[in-house]
Symmetry: C2
Subunit: 215 residues, 2 copies
């Protein structure tokens, strides 16, 4: 990813860096790229507007830095989940992965909010690359799960791999959206559902995937 942070920012005391990152993250998460206001960012991080432009080349530079920050956090988390569930069977891995996703969003709601804002906004800078980076990462994760599931004979051998990956990706993403976007899910009411209900729904969903719909 093209870096547009200036060295001045890197030389800043860490506490100040964090304050600025937090302010920018919150603003982008709330408003999306175009609508996010640099005035708001500088006000809420307590620095002068001019200073912001000593740290970053322009608005795009701030955004890309925040995105890098966010995606590296996602990557680390996902790698960790993958490792700690290595030995479990396919469907247990799915379950644990989904719950880990729910937990990640609970801890970093603004990062997920930024992702959701990028999804359908054509005017985000470098959107194709950013989107591809995220989507590809998720797709590869599911691909590797499916591959292992096939090798171990835990899922049907005649399964069309890409379609299965697509299904998992779709379902997981939607489930996560449902847990954190109000008014989005009218069927299960997952937003504001207590953790034990979410766990129960996860189990039901995975079970449905396992067995299929047919009688």
């Amino acid at each position: 990813m093209t870096q547009t942070v200036l060295p001045t920012f890197i030389n800043l005391p860490l506490a100040k860096q964090e304050k600025i990152v937090a302010a920018a993250l919150a603003e982008f998460a709330d408003k999306g790229y175009q609508q996010a206001s640099i005035n708001v960012m500088v006000a809420s991080s307590g620095i002068a507007k001019g200073s912001m432009y000593q740290y970053f080349k322009d608005k795009k530079g701030i955004f890309l830095y925040i995105f890098d920050f966010a995606i590296s956090l996602v990557r680390r988390t996902l790698v960790q989940v993958k490792e700690t569930t290595q030995e479990a069977d396919f469907f247990t891995r799915l379950e644990k992965s989904l719950l880990a996703g729910v937990e990640f969003i609970r801890q970093h709601p603004r990062i997920y909010a930024i992702y959701l804002k990028i999804l359908f906004d054509q005017h985000v800078p470098q959107r194709p690359q950013l989107l591809k980076a995220v989507r590809q990462f998720a797709a590869e994760y599911f691909q590797s799960l499916v591959r292992q599931g096939l090798e171990r004979g835990e899922i049907r051998a005649d399964l069309p791999g890409p379609v299965a990956t697509f299904l998992l990706d779709a379902l997981f993403d939607r489930f996560l959206q449902a847990t954190c976007v109000p008014f989005f899910d009218v069927t299960l009411g997952l937003d504001q559902a207590p953790p034990e209900e979410i766990e129960h729904r996860v189990k039901e969903l995975i079970d449905l995937l396992r067995q299929g719909l047919a009688s």
Copy 2:
């Protein structure tokens, strides 16, 4: 839905109405609510800015009118699909419904684009109501399909209804997004896929739903 169209607009010759609606639809679809520019709308529909405010109370009024226009079109289409597939079996109905969705978006891409923009933008006026209107409508559609499938014994009797509905809703919505949002789907490459490939993928997906993943 609260109407904020002024009578002046209704009295306009139909051709002029359509021109204005088309311009507003295009602008909202491209930019979303906040970022959409009334200046652009009036320029591309060839009327004076002041005139726009003789037709609608304010920006919110324009948007809600466009939304009403859009959702009534969706409703009519969905009702029609439901009726024409009434006699088919559950999985055929799913297949036909999904393909109808793909076709609708092909014919009305801007309407779907507006829906996608509303999804994750907290600052759209009356978002809760608008979102609920759409989501509820979709959920009821799938609920009725599932109910009929159960009655006819085409799907497992022990199926947890809400979860099945959720799964269908998730999968269909994501499939539609994948067909029309570039860079979104890296697994199947559904954007720009020829119709026959899309049909094939639809069949595969429905099959997967039917049989499940387990070996």
